[in-house]
Symmetry: C2
Subunit: 346 residues, 2 copies
């Protein structure tokens, strides 16, 4: 009876079940501990045995069971990604997500997409080892939950709210990029630029506002700042721009912070009979489909979202591995993509 039962289960193991560490160990004639050490890299194993076991594992098609490993190591092998769900900028975030997922995969980490409210239950800690929170906004109630979930958090851009501090952050030098953009516009002949920017609820928008102020003082060129919603629709932006054109006689350049708002600016220019690129210079603080796809194409600051995502994932991965101390803030490089919309005043 014992024998029959053992034989049956062994047969099933061969036919249907997936191959486990014990199968590998048995086939290689070692104990499971040695097999584990040989494949995992830790522990003391002779080079010869290690290679033999790795060969056997490859031959049998051994894949470690993620759940068992997680249980034993009490780490899940996955990180979470939390994105703001703004209507525009989605292609930016998608590129960022792709970058993060690729980088995570290089370290053997899965990336799970977090929906708003995921963390509020509290079970987050048993499902991911850490979380990436991108562009955290102060009035998003999920953000404090994520920060308090008990796992390391890396933010993309700083979080301006209080509470538990994140373990790390990757930030863009938005002040420098806006200054570069304004320098570029001035060089192309702009003397009366305007900036369309969301209110200071996010680190990004807040930084842009002060940067515009600093630049204006330094250069002695007044920059008109006008507040638009974070996820501004083209219609809203068009109205805002038309308003500016009507109100400021010599307006010659418009910088719009959200990339999705670009079409609205262009439409207002067309309506007012201004030729984009010469009569009115137009630029955006975030590059994306809207800036690249419009006509004429719009000069924009390229935040290189895929690399941004990679950088965030890399930092979190290092924090999890313990190779980097908590509290780091890393800088992410940007680039200025000059296009026809700032060709220059004729």
């Amino acid at each position: 009876m014992e024998g029959r039962c053992g034989a049956a289960s062994r047969l099933r193991a061969v036919t249907s079940r997936s191959v486990t560490l014990i199968d590998v160990a048995r086939a290689a004639g070692v104990s499971k501990s040695t097999a584990s050490n040989a494949l995992g890299g830790s522990g003391r194993v002779s080079e010869a045995t290690r290679e033999r076991i790795q060969d056997v594992a490859r031959e049998l098609g051994y894949r470690p069971n993620t759940a068992a490993r997680s249980l034993r190591r009490s780490s899940t092998g996955a990180i979470g990604l939390y994105l703001p769900r703004t209507g525009t900028r989605l292609d930016y975030y998608m590129n960022l997500a792709f970058g993060a997922v690729e980088r995570a995969r290089e370290d053997g980490l899965d990336l799970v997409l977090l929906a708003p409210g995921t963390a509020s239950g509290g079970g987050l800690a048993s499902r991911v080892d850490g979380v990436l929170v991108i562009d955290p906004e102060v009035d998003d109630p999920s953000v404090p939950d994520l920060l308090g979930a008990g796992v390391p958090v890396v933010t993309g851009e700083r979080y301006l709210g209080g509470g538990v501090a994140p373990s790390g952050a990757v930030v863009c030098d938005n002040a420098a990029s806006l200054a570069a953009l304004l320098d570029h516009l001035a060089e192309r002949g702009a003397r009366r630029p305007a900036l369309l920017v969301p209110g200071p609820g996010s680190d990004w928008a807040a930084a842009l506002r002060t940067a515009a102020d600093v630049w204006s003082r330094r250069e002695g060129i007044e920059t008109v700042v006008r507040t638009v919603p974070f996820a501004a629709t083209p219609a809203e932006t068009e109205a805002a721009t038309a308003d500016l054109i009507a109100g400021i006689p010599k307006l010659d350049a418009v910088v719009c912070a959200p990339d999705g708002a670009v079409p609205g600016v262009l439409a207002a220019a067309v309506h007012a009979g201004l030729r984009t690129g010469t009569g009115l210079l137009v630029a955006a603080c975030v590059d994306g489909a809207a800036a690249r796809g419009s006509s004429p194409q719009v000069t924009a600051v390229d935040l290189r979202p895929a690399e941004y995502g990679r950088a965030c994932a890399a930092l979190l991965s290092e924090l999890l591995a313990g190779t980097t101390e908590p509290g780091v803030v890393r800088r992410h490089d940007w680039a200025l993509n000059v296009r026809d919309s700032t060709a220059g005043r004729s």
Copy 2:
């Protein structure tokens, strides 16, 4: 010694470790099996004890350990999402992803983002219970790997390649939506429409091509079909449209299949001195930021990506639960968003 050791571990359990099923059971004065049954819903437990245990669990803040559950149940509690990484259409896919992640969460499933090449290793089956493959293209080498990974697969749109068949699919009636779009254009005065569409490598594009053919025959109106890349850039589309305008004297409407290509069509119209909406009607087969954000706004077929994602996740979830038999194909509804770009010939 035994006692001291036990006390020590119990103390640590209280101070640092998270609360386990055993903690709940002990606090409620029952065995772990009963606690498991009470919380899991299965097994035989009296209503009184069940409530008591649930109260205790809530009070202690018990969260089941995902890894342990996965290990025991040999299911991971997560599904994978594989998206094509085309430059345009990203906001469409992002909305779809958000829909899928929300629906998955309703069933307690995590959604992990799959990068191209994730499946080739073969370890996919131990990490997700099933996979969503959206807009599978025949020449994507990852798709056969995903289909052969040994877990249920639901595709968004059909997969035209061979090999292992998916367990389910959610499809749009692209033929019907294009016919509706062409009907709309004809009603607004179009007599010589053109269709910009990718080659027949995807189910979506193939369906559009035949639908245009069928519609033309039925209505007696010839539709000019022109092939553009799947992820057509605005520049490519502009060139293609300019070409059409030059080559076809009475051209009065352009339908462009990929949404990201919309700005190119509009630019070509402007260049040719045609007024979009009257001189040239313009429409797209996929609604998105490009169609909504352009000026004038462009009439498009709304595939309702978030709901599409929800539908895919729902189907996969049912397949995993066994409440739906494999092989199902479900239909997803679309809507026509009429905008200024098809106002009508004056």
